[in-house]
């Protein structure tokens, strides 16, 4: 099935007729489903010579359902660079090198993305090689054990950052059953135990690296290339899988919950306040409303930021995040406090903002400024083929189509001050609250 979706394209820019509502994702694209469930999104643009390829697999640390096996989605990402019989790692590398390609991958809660950027003449070569490793990955026990150490090395290099530790503790405190309880990196004890579970790594790959969970995004100078034909040629006989993961559902929270991290060296203290949030949706108002609140309440232009960072100067970092996740996740505010004695004050100020959203309607002009910000921010981010594909990847992981972006931005435009208040009443409740703080060994 091919869906030709008309976009408005003039030299890669959105030009809309007077009065028309501009689509948030301004590029024309083609969406094609192969019989094995694989989906291809082709986005020709006007940036010359370069092609960005993103292969998005709907498998992340959310899928790590067995106890003691956290971190295997991320480990699988590493193992994908251990090659196949046809393309052992050195051959794979030398081909990428000869193509001048930039290649990497990342893993999140919900998905894993493999990305390569290269010159357009190498498209067939790269698609062929990628198809081979997605279907025929082959690594020995020895390779596996060595790669597990590289993952531990990654844990090690992250471990110097207190924010990484905070995230571990926030999740562990806020969730009881859902796999969002652990970070994508996994529990340290599971990472250290990885070298002993070669067979499980094979099972994880077999379950999840399947066409019906995979979307290929090709963006760039491809208007004259037969992308669909090439994907058909190399990917069409990849067999469909049938595994259904049973992700544990999180029971209602009976908070509030608190936790504290003691950091072994000197660092500035942190206060974090989280509430159970919403699962991503482009059909209901929850995601859009909470996104808007995160900017209204805590961005640089918010009253709280102006007070704590600019005027009183008690805080030097203040951010909120409401990440898009398949299942309900967390709306979290992070504040780095300059003096430990101000931690309680800062916590009170943050809670006061949440409370105010429940009681007071946001002024219309503030709401419009945030909507404008989001619209332009997205447009400004689409300034090259790689970022077009990179911006699409998380949405494709959620809904497998760029249309979800248009629906989400349409939803933003419809949200009213009353919607924000009713969502605040729904989500900013004590039972769903988790507060985690971090203190260094000494104040600086």
């Amino acid at each position: 099935m091919t869906l030709g979706i008309a976009g408005l394209l003039l030299c890669g820019l959105a030009i809309s007729a007077p009065g028309a509502v501009p689509r948030a994702f301004p590029f024309a694209y083609e969406q094609h489903d192969f019989p094995n469930g694989l989906r291809l999104l082709t986005i020709p643009d006007d940036y010359p010579n370069v092609v960005a390829l993103y292969i998005v697999v709907q498998a992340g640390s959310r899928n790590e359902v067995e106890p003691g096996r956290s971190g295997y989605a991320h480990l699988s990402e590493h193992l994908m660079f251990r090659g196949t019989k046809a393309y052992p790692p050195q051959k794979y590398e030398s081909i990428l090198q000869a193509a001048g390609a930039s290649s990497n991958a990342y893993t999140t809660d919900d998905f894993t993305a493999y990305h390569t950027t290269f010159s357009k003449e190498d498209l067939e070569l790269i698609l062929r090689m990628e198809a081979d490793r997605f279907r025929n990955l082959h690594y020995s026990l020895e390779d596996f054990r060595t790669e597990a150490l590289a993952v531990l090395g990654e844990y090690n290099k992250n471990s110097a950052d207190p924010m990484e530790k905070l995230e571990e503790v926030i999740r562990d405190t806020a969730f009881d059953r859902h796999t969002y309880k652990h970070t994508t990196m996994g529990f340290l004890k599971d990472v250290q135990d990885m070298p002993n579970h070669y067979d499980y790594s094979l099972l994880f790959f077999k379950r999840y690296y399947r066409p019906e969970r995979t979307t290929i995004i090709v963006a760039g100078d491809v208007a004259k290339l037969d992308v669909k034909g090439l994907v058909e040629k190399y990917w069409a006989d990849w067999p469909r899988g049938d595994f259904r993961a049973s992700i544990p559902q999180e029971p209602p929270s009976h908070g509030p919950r608190v936790n504290e991290v003691r950091w072994p060296t000197g660092t500035l203290p942190w206060v974090t306040v989280s509430f159970r949030g919403a699962a991503y949706s482009d059909q209901h108002k929850d995601t859009a409303a909470l996104d808007l609140i995160s900017f209204l309440g805590f961005s640089e232009t918010s009253d709280l930021y102006q007070k704590l960072v600019i005027q009183e100067q008690k805080v030097d970092v203040l951010v909120a995040d409401n990440p898009d996740r398949l299942d309900p996740y967390l709306f979290t505010v992070w504040a780095r406090v300059k003096r430990p004695e101000d931690m309680d004050y800062v916590k009170g100020q943050i809670l006061g903002v949440f409370d105010k959203f429940r009681r007071v309607l946001v002024p219309a002009e503030r709401l419009e400024a945030v909507k404008s910000h989001l619209r332009y921010r997205f447009l400004l981010s689409l300034d090259n083929s790689e970022s077009i594909a990179a911006n699409l990847a998380p949405y494709v992981a959620l809904r497998r189509t760029p249309e979800t972006i248009n629906r989400l931005y349409e939803m933003y435009s419809q949200i009213t001050a009353e919607d924000l208040r009713s969502m605040a009443i729904k989500y900013f409740v004590e039972s769903g609250r988790t507060i985690v703080t971090l203190k260094g060994a000494k104040s600086q």
Binding site: G12, L13, Y47, P48, N49, V50, F81, P89, E93, S94, L96, Q97, A99, G100, A101, S102, T117, S119, L141, E142, R145, T146, E147, A148, L149, A150, L152, G153, E154, N156, K157, S159, A160, P162, P195, P264, T265, T267, L268, E300, T301, Q306, I310, Q313, R336, K338, E368, A369, S372, H373, L374, R375, Y376, R377, L379, L380, D383, N384, S385, E386
Partner: protein, 491 residues
Amino acid sequence: MKFFLAAILMIASANLPAQIQFVTRPSRSPLVSFRIVFLTGAAHDPIDKPGVASLTAAMLSQGGTRQMTYKQIVDALFPMAVSVTSQVDKEMTVFSATTHIDNLETFYRLFRAMLLEPGWRGEDFERLRDEAINYLRVNLRGNNDEELGKEALYNQIYSGHPYGHNNVGTVSALQKMTIADVRAFYRDHYTQDGLIIGIGGGYPPRLLERMKEDFGVLPQKARPEPGWYEPKLHRGIQLTMIRKDTRAVAISLGFPIPVRRGHPDYPALLLAQSYFGQHRMSGGVLYEQMRQLRGLNYGDYAYIEYFPRGMFQFEPDPNLARRSQIFQIWIRPVEPSTAHFALRLALYELDKFIRQGISEGEFERSRAFLSKYVNLLIKTKSAELGYAIDSLYYGIPDYDTYIRESLSKLRAEDVNRVIRKYLRTTDLDIVIVAKDCEGLKRQILEGAPSPMTYNSPKPKEVMEEDKIVDRWKIDVKPENVHIVSVDTVFE
């Protein structure tokens, strides 16, 4: 790569003796990118005021103007989703921003005022000075052992030199700094003769004339130059160990090189570096030997140009052009028990590289890689402008053309010549961030074997090579090893 032919305009008419230089990259994009570069930076900090260049730039990009408070500026920029960022390196200070054409007029008025009519408010100064101190103490010293090690390495190599302090300064100097200091720096260093205006995208041509006129209010006079000399070469291996309560061990090492863009040996040395340790790619020798075969850490790379924030990005930021660069090896954090072996292995691989050089096949592959990879560095209009400005600084053609054309003339023997000429395993600086510095120091000085144990069988060649590596002599004299507490670094 370009929609239109690149144009580098030098505007220097008889009526306007000031030499503002323009670098333009027009296109039909709905986005407009600015890169405003002043040829000044941390190398121009007065000797008793390290950090003043950086704080001055922060006062412009994150402070108010004469007419508007910082809050008013943030509120005005917010609906356009534009942010003005500044980056200060040794020789360059850049202010960059990209706006949608819908908002060009509103944004440009703000941007112009931010750069030309700074407000110099006390509360902005206090906040930004705190931010700078916290960057050094918390972000760098506290939270990022890798960047800490790399930045400390630069300080050590350039000790006593205009490049010898962190771009953000030192904590004690920042604590004493005043608004008068940043105002004086702005007055003396933000001048027309050191200004390069980069603009790209779908801007109207008349904007150039307007900017020429607007920025013409800056003083025309020449900036004071810092006293310049080549960094002195350290004799023997100098080892600094930074004691910190941390899980893993971060290691960086390097030495100054006289090669920079435009130097006849730059393309050959770039190729050598790419083959030996291309940043964040899995094809390099170091990566292959240390991570891929032995699982020592997350990755290992080599550099011939300054590349800060490498743990967060794949491509370097432009406008970090320097008169002097170093060759550097970055060993990502290793388990403490393998730190001695990892350092030995990196030095062994470097030694082997110098002795054996690069084969014809490896040369051809690296050349093919770089000839195409250079396209990917210049993905955005802003990056294209940044590279063009750097090319102006170094006196070379556009970077992609420069690299492709130089590589096409290169031979493997040229690369092997520069490897032998510039790379070495003696007379270098090493910085290690670790918890048990005393123990590691003892191991290194004693030079006892540091055999590896692996969790899986290794190929025979690896095991044979390990027998050489685990006895590799790191020829460092006890008097050249210095252990410092992390609290003293950048103070």
